[in-house]
Assembly symmetry: D2
Homo-oligomer: 186 residues x 4
Amino acid sequence: MALLGFALGVCQAAEPVKVLIAYSSETGNTEKMARAAAEGVRQVEGEAVLRRVTEVTKQDLEQADAIMLGSPVHMGDVAAEMRAALVAWSGGDFGFWRSRALQNKVGAVFATGGAPSNGKEFTMMSMALALLQYGMVLVTPYGGLGASATTGIPEAEKGVDERELTEARELGKRAAFIAGRMKNGP
Amino acid sequence: MALLGFALGVCQAAEPVKVLIAYSSETGNTEKMARAAAEGVRQVEGEAVLRRVTEVTKQDLEQADAIMLGSPVHMGDVAAEMRAALVAWSGGDFGFWRSRALQNKVGAVFATGGAPSNGKEFTMMSMALALLQYGMVLVTPYGGLGASATTGIPEAEKGVDERELTEARELGKRAAFIAGRMKNGP
Amino acid sequence: MALLGFALGVCQAAEPVKVLIAYSSETGNTEKMARAAAEGVRQVEGEAVLRRVTEVTKQDLEQADAIMLGSPVHMGDVAAEMRAALVAWSGGDFGFWRSRALQNKVGAVFATGGAPSNGKEFTMMSMALALLQYGMVLVTPYGGLGASATTGIPEAEKGVDERELTEARELGKRAAFIAGRMKNGP
Amino acid sequence: MALLGFALGVCQAAEPVKVLIAYSSETGNTEKMARAAAEGVRQVEGEAVLRRVTEVTKQDLEQADAIMLGSPVHMGDVAAEMRAALVAWSGGDFGFWRSRALQNKVGAVFATGGAPSNGKEFTMMSMALALLQYGMVLVTPYGGLGASATTGIPEAEKGVDERELTEARELGKRAAFIAGRMKNGP
């Protein structure tokens, strides 16, 4: 029976998944989306680690089962510090290009931008492409490429609204769910 | 011990994964890549189903654990019949937008084009975006968005070469591997 | 003085520019954007020709100084009939790939979609890439890739609003302005 | 007759166009493409100014009739220093977002990358989108989004070949030609 318990344990005990949420934020909008994503992760018993992308450590990345990236739109595309981080992780102390240590982790993305259609998709795509380069599998909200918030239209100071935070939460749940399935089976 | 055997069986018996490879091809180049992808799937004990995208049935899509899509580049982007199929699957007899029946399946893409940088990436992205809209998770070759072949440069009749077929095979293996992990656990 | 008049005439008489606006529309939203674009063209003394993309003739394309394309988002990307038309124009009776008859014309794009960030950018990019393949020069609204309308958010039946129609009008003006400058000088 | 001479002068004297070529380069491949683009500009009597993107001044940008940007592919997308420059030009001492001083200039892009289809298109698109955000008109080589070189395939040390340099030269010519037409008429 001990053996049986062990066998069942091996196949059923769902290890909790760890989700790193790395973001760039100037006005606080993208940070709000990041916090909502973290709530979503926790709602499905996942462990969420929030980090500014400039402060992400090698260990943060290695320990994560899923990596979520968030960026504001700057001149139609991703924030330069996010782009710089995604390149930096490939070499130097991180060395993830050669080690392939990020392969098979789960990736997901989110973005905020002032106007409805002036760069949020391209910003999300830019981050998604880098995650895919590292061999990660990409997970999205149903019907989209990532969670997003339109912060300046119709009113200049709209910010992030509840519907958008819900989308970020759902994406957090979904990243944790798929990472769990990759880690522990269905 | 019977109980133990049952328990181990539940958790270990890897059900074979089914990979649908749906492609558009005029000159035969994309079809060659599709056949190589199928070889890759079979190399890891997966079941590969090859279909012209215009002949894909609702059942083909429902039964697949992974869906791979391949298209030539036409005027810088995806073939119109591939685009039309991806839209058609959302409604009508397929009805996959509302049923969400494709959600959590694994997706992967490949493309062929005459010139090195004139649309293969955008063609792959177009197909990938549609798969992600349906809630699928996207899998790529290491370091890229999909498998691809440059068929007209440097010589006009270069066609698909062995390196490119190898990439398609690897992508087939990888789609089957990730689909297996989603289906049967690690 | 007759000679002088002739000389001035040669350099100053601005020939009116002709702008073809070819669109795909099911619910009427993209057609509304197309009509607004046509208004913009006429506001700067341009001649606007409105056509469903399936009804565009070879002559429509040849006579245009600028070509504006509009499409709804279908499953995250451009409408299949728009994609099919852009490919069809390259060969057959049109033959624009070899003739290069569209080269140096001005291009611009617009899109409508239900959700803020689920495909309008990619839809605009897909059309823009095809126009660029034909050697056209691409013109956009300030701060974006094209004019766009978010038709289903926040209310399901939001449709196209005045701000969005204004953007389409401005894009029409701008396409006509740049086409005029290419045709008649500054 | 003096008046006539003046009139003819006003309409015919083609002012030379100035093309700024701003690039990022680590291994020298993108710099080679930049030099080829400059040759193309000079072949049509244009004035070419070559600058590392980190050294571009406000005056360089203001004085240019056309701006060409070149970047290597880093982890599937544009170099971080190019992205950072494109954002920096919008505010601070440059202030081009509010001044709109880049509007109506001509833009063109080029990229180099090791593999055929792993980011050159996305890198070119990223730069092109930023130029379009600033209100510039985008010019491309016939059949593509920009000039590009595949530097590592089939041989690891392939570098930039003559066909690719020719494409960069042609793009330089074309940017100067369209900028001339915008400046001096057809």
